[in-house]
């Protein structure tokens, strides 16, 4: 299929410094995207503040800005470079948040820059808890009893409606759950809600029923413009709900799902990526399954390459094709390189069991680390 000829210059945003919740897993995808886009004849402008990345090596992009990742600075780069498009899905939550700010403050429109890879409505539908919940209701995928609050009064009201503790508090638009946690009583609830409201750039928190004890799964899903969807990998958290996915021991592929249960997760994941409208590229969908009743609930969906994508890639050995398609999908409409002539999803089941153990940050001195949230 033809390459988009209306785009010549692409700005790519990196993920910035390594912080807890966002490591270097986006360096490779970004580097590959740069290389591939340049091979296709696009001019690539890169911005990232982290010097310890391969992508900021001077030969990776046409021009490399080692500059702070703030909307003001990135707009200056846009003013200077006049890119036609912005690719925000290669730099984790940092890049996505930055792209959203630039879209919302009108900078992209002012300078005639198109978002490619993920459009604003899709990003918002996946990231905004309310929109996400509504979307899930539309397709009949269960979500956790929950409510959104922007003030403490609202938060208390929701807690009252859900009825009983523990409750989970998740701030919107934050990385790795900063400012969130589990509350077992009212006092704790108020404390965590406040810190969640503070941590969220839009002062919004989601309060949900605790799914402690439910089993947690993740599916890595990709979709192309021809509406093919593949499940790249299933990941099972050995620790049940209650430990942040990033802190849990995980196994790929999932080990304890029956075929039927797995099919249900797959079907749901496919419906979700279509409903959210991630046209091209990969997403990560997290599910919780009640071990007693088999009830399934979707927890969240990331419309971008995520921490787990890196893991899934390494576990299945899928990355190259995946990333290459990822950027290609952004600039052309192209089908999956399926070996089958029939147009059906190509499902890769990794033949080997891989196990990833993520371990915690070394607790800082003088600071007994609190029980995990």
């Amino acid at each position: 299929m033809p390459r988009r000829n209306d785009i010549h210059k692409i700005l790519l945003i990196g993920s910035g410094p390594i912080v807890i919740g966002q490591a270097c897993e986006f360096d490779y995808s970004g580097t590959q995207a740069c290389k591939a886009l340049r091979d296709e004849g696009f001019e690539v402008i890169l911005v990232n503040s982290n010097p310890a990345t391969i992508m900021t090596d001077p030969e990776t992009a046409d021009r490399t800005y080692i500059e702070p990742l703030t909307p003001e600075i990135v707009e200056k780069i846009i003013e200077r470079e006049h890119p036609d498009a912005l690719l925000p899905t290669m730099g984790g939550q940092t890049a996505l948040n930055l792209a959203v700010s630039l879209a919302k403050n009108g900078a992209l429109e002012r300078h005639g820059v198109e978002l490619i890879g993920a459009k604003l409505p899709a990003i918002e539908m996946a990231e905004d808890r309310k929109l996400f919940k509504e979307a899930m209701e539309r397709i009949g995928v269960g979500v956790c009893p929950s409510g959104l609050a922007t003030t403490m009064t609202e938060a208390k009201q929701i807690a009252h409606e859900i009825g009983n503790y523990p409750l989970i508090i998740r701030p919107a638009f934050t990385m790795g759950g900063t400012g969130g946690g589990i509350a077992y009583n009212q006092e704790e609830f108020e404390e965590i809600s406040q810190s969640g409201l503070d941590a969220s750039p839009v002062s919004q928190i989601l309060i949900e029923k605790s799914l402690l004890g439910w089993k947690e799964y993740e599916l890595e899903v990709m979709r192309d413009l021809a509406d093919n969807v593949v499940i790249i990998c299933s990941i099972e958290n050995i620790d049940p709900m209650g430990i942040h996915t990033g802190d849990s021991i995980t196994v790929a592929p999932a080990q304890t799902l029956t075929d039927k249960e797995y099919q249900r997760l797959r079907d749901a994941a496919i419906k979700i990526i279509r409903e959210i409208g991630v046209e091209t590229g990969g997403s990560n969908v997290q599910f919780a399954v009640n071990p007693e009743t088999g009830e399934m609930i979707v927890i969240e969906m990331n419309p971008r390459v995520s921490r787990s994508s890196a893991l899934a890639s390494k576990a299945t050995g899928f990355p190259i094709a995946k990333w290459r398609q990822n950027w290609q999908w952004a600039t052309r409409s192209m089908k999956f390189p399926t070996t089958s002539p029939k147009k059906h999803p190509l499902v890769l089941n990794p033949p080997s069991i891989t196990l990833s153990l993520k371990f915690r940050a070394l607790p800082l001195k003088n600071s007994p680390v609190r029980s995990p949230r």
Binding site: G16, P17, I18, V19, I20, G21, C24, D27, Y28, T31, S49, N50, P51, A52, D57, D62, R63, T64, E67, P68, T70, I73, K76, G176, D198, K215, D239, P240, G242, I243, H244, T245, G246, D247, V251, Q255, T256, P291, A310, K314, T316, G317, P319, I320, T339, P351, I353, T354, L355, S356, L357, F359, R360, A361, L364, K365, N366, S367, R370, P372
Partner: protein
């Protein structure tokens, strides 16, 4: 989420992958226990540990099972799927079997089965009361070797030729043990090669002090060697890195970085060289075991490339290192060794407080402290460290208000040395270099000081016979230069320096290790750029409610950012901005200093007032400022002095910048609360005088002109 890193392992069974992943974690474990004597907690503690999710829970599960809890009971408490728990219970059964079976009476079939469950040689050694080497020798004598499988990147749809390997113990055992052929037929999937092979050992999981800077160096080593026609073999266990992407190297082994696993690969691949100096502490720990192995097996032609393990050891061995320094007439801070509190007191008396104390057996600044008095020292010796005759405490004179300098240099086998970059730290000596901001080129060092640094660096590189990279840390007090430490290996500053000077240092270094000279590479003189580059550390404090945020000798940062501009102020401002510290251009600065810093703060405060900021201070600091002619400082009450106090000011967003230096090693509660609140309200906070000076310079630059952007290609 609180993890800073992760390890992944690949195997054929859950048990194998699980144990491999555990020994990849660099937490000292050789697998799921069975590697050291364990003190079992009480049943009550275990129940709590199982019920409340926590990172050590997987070992609590082990303790529970050891104490006889059934899979059902553990499931009730943890909600971990019984399938997993069953597999773990099996591991414990195997362990019990091993513990009552002498090594030599394990037959081939049994040992094979044990290896298939992922037990490491070290675990088997512990269980059978033998040594790892004995287990290895016995295992090999039975023909039990790992086979290497490719990760099937094509889902068995068509043949995968990707050289992406993992080890496993295959199950052809039965057939073999019944048949007449005693030689194991190992079905390896390793592709043969005619090229010269080099193995690069990666850095393992990320943790504080061991970040992606080292992975960057490993990747560059691979890129350069591949470009030169070598076949590169990468060994690493960290799924987040670029080095574990299978097209970074010709071959990738997704394996734990332990002696057993690395030697297995070495014996399967027979590389010409092994590179251990790029991956940080993880591969360096393997230097001595690897060299010992090579010495014991003269038929193995593999060599460790670059600086010899002995030289690396010299730099880390206090006595040998001091001997070299004396010969070269390189100055060190006064220091001593103590094996008891009395000895420590004597040393402290001789060299005078403040002193830096640290245990001799840990690296990376852990448990390192600056101590100001006998009383402080007593507390440190009693509570902070374990003092034993075998584990003395190292005591160095703390050079107050000294400037710390980091140097990265490259040396070749002919003894030529080129300085890569001299970095001047913003925070004073005593703050871990990984947490400190730094600048290239230097900003305040005199020509004679720089001259001394260059001369000493060159002399030391030659004396240590460095081939490749070397990093040296100096402290400069006035015009006096002192050496703090030298590490003949890649440092975490290599990517920053490379980008600041426009020379890929890691690539240069690896080519030198492959036998080229600096002259061959046309890299013979130090590059001093015209623009200024500042590196700043990114700290994870926001993730740890309740921790204090002061900087000290123990490293705490997780990542780094870089700011580049035409002058220091702007470059520093950019670095701060990139690290999410938004410096104010106007508004109110709150200053509260400890007694040692009060006078030093005067010029900075004057500067800030000149820049149009209002300054408020606590009584003591304000008193000193007034005594030195700074009149226009409003008083802010401390927490116990009534209200509204400083926290009220912060919470009401009256304060835009905080300069607060800590009191002693343990900051007082007031100070801690101030810093925590500042963090919560996202108010930039500076905890050192030097940092305050740099901040003032940055504000000055920001006021004069808006920040502009420029690509690195344009700077070069």
């Amino acid at each position: 989420m609180k993890s800073v890193g992760e390890a992944m392992a690949i195997g054929r069974t859950f048990q194998e992958s699980f144990q491999k992943a555990l020994r990849s974690l660099e937490t000292g474990r050789a697998g799921w226990g069975c590697d050291r004597s364990e003190k079992l907690p009480s049943l009550e503690q275990i129940r709590g540990g199982l019920r409340i999710p926590n990172p050590d829970r997987i070992f609590t599960v082990r303790h529970a099972m050891q104490m006889g809890m059934t899979v059902e009971e553990v499931y009730e408490l943890t909600a971990i799927d019984p399938w997993f728990l069953d597999k773990l219970a099996e591991l414990l059964e195997t362990e019990r079997f091993l513990k009552k079976t002498p090594l030599k009476s394990l037959n081939r079939e049994q040992l094979y089965a044990v290896k298939q469950q992922g037990f490491s040689d070290r675990q088997i050694a512990y269980a059978t009361k033998t040594t790892e080497d004995e287990v290895r020798a016995y295992r090999k004598s039975l023909g039990i070797l790992p086979t290497y499988k490719t990760v099937d990147t094509c889902a068995a749809e068509f043949e995968a030729l990707t050289p992406y390997y993992y080890s496993t113990y295959e199950s052809e055992v039965l057939e073999l043990s019944q048949g007449e052929a005693a030689v194991a037929k190992v079905e390896t999937e390793i592709l043969p090669s005619e090229k010269r092979k080099v193995m690069i050992l990666g850095g393992g999981p990320n943790r504080i002090g061991q970040g992606i800077e080292f992975d960057y160096c490993c990747c560059h080593a691979s890129y350069a060697l591949r470009a030169d026609g070598f076949e590169t073999i990468m060994v690493n266990s960290n799924p987040e890195t670029v080095s574990t992407d299978y097209d970074t190297s010709d071959r990738l082994y997704f394996e734990p970085l332990t002696k057993e696993d690395v030697l297995n690969i070495l014996e399967a691949e027979h590389p010409e060289g092994v590179i251990i100096q790029f991956g940080g502490q993880t591969p360096l720990k393997l230097a001595v075991p690897l060299q010992t192995y090579l010495n014991q097996n003269p038929d193995v032609t593999t060599k460790i490339w670059g600086t010899s393990p002995d030289s690396i050891d010299t730099a880390e061995d206090r006595e040998r290192f001091e001997k070299i320094l004396r010969e070269l007439e390189i100055r060190q801070p006064a220091n001593g060794l103590a094996r008891s509190f009395e000895e420590a007191l004597q040393v402290a008396k001789r060299i005078d407080y403040p002193v830096v104390v640290r245990p001799s057996y840990v690296l990376g600044g852990r448990a390192m402290e600056i101590v100001y008095s006998d009383q402080d020292l007593d507390r440190y010796m009693k509570f902070a460290v374990l003092v034993e005759p075998d584990h003395p405490i190292l005591i160095d004179k703390y050079l107050e208000n000294a400037i710390e300098v980091d140097v990265d240099a490259i040396a070749d086998a002919d003894g030529n040395v080129v300085i890569g970059g001299i970095m001047e730290h913003i925070e004073q000596a005593g703050i871990h270099s990984g947490d400190s901001a730094c600048s290239i080129p230097t900003i305040s060092l005199s020509a004679s000081v720089l001259d001394t640094i260059r001369t000493w660096t060159t002399k030391l590189a030659k004396a240590l016979k460095v081939i490749g990279l070397m990093n040296i840390q100096y402290a400069v007090q006035g015009e006096q230069v002192y050496i703090l430490e030298a590490n003949p290996r890649a440092s975490r500053t290599v990517p920053f320096v490379s980008k600041a000077i426009g020379v890929p240092l890691a690539k240069m270094a690896v080519r030198i290790m492959s036998g080229m000279t600096l002259a061959d590479l046309n890299y013979t003189s130090e590059v001093i750029p015209k623009h200024v580059s500042v590196k700043e550390a990114v700290l994870p404090f926001a993730k740890f409610p309740g921790t204090d945020i002061i900087l000290g000798p123990e490293m705490r940062s997780t990542g780094e950012v870089m700011g580049i501009d035409t002058d220091f102020g702007k470059a520093f401002a950019k670095a701060e901005l990139a690290a999410s510290q938004h410096l104010p251009l106007k508004g109110m600065v709150f200053v509260s200093m400890n007694d040692r810093d009060k006078v030093a703060a005067v010029p900075v405060v004057k500067d800030l007032i000149e820049l149009g900021l209002t300054v408020v201070a606590t009584s003591g600091t304000r008193q000193t400022l007034m005594e030195h002619g700074v009149e226009s400082v409003e008083l802010v009450l401390k927490l116990h002095e009534g209200r509204p106090h400083v926290l009220d000011w912060i919470k009401n967003e009256q304060i835009q910048l905080i300069i607060n230096t800590p009191i002693g090693a343990t900051a007082q509660i007031d100070d801690r609360l101030i810093r925590r609140t500042a963090l919560a309200y996202k108010i930039p906070i500076v905890t050192t005088i030097a940092g305050a000076r740099a901040t003032a310079a940055a504000i000055r630059s920001l006021q004069s002109q808006q920040l502009q952007v420029k690509s690195i290609q344009e700077y070069m």
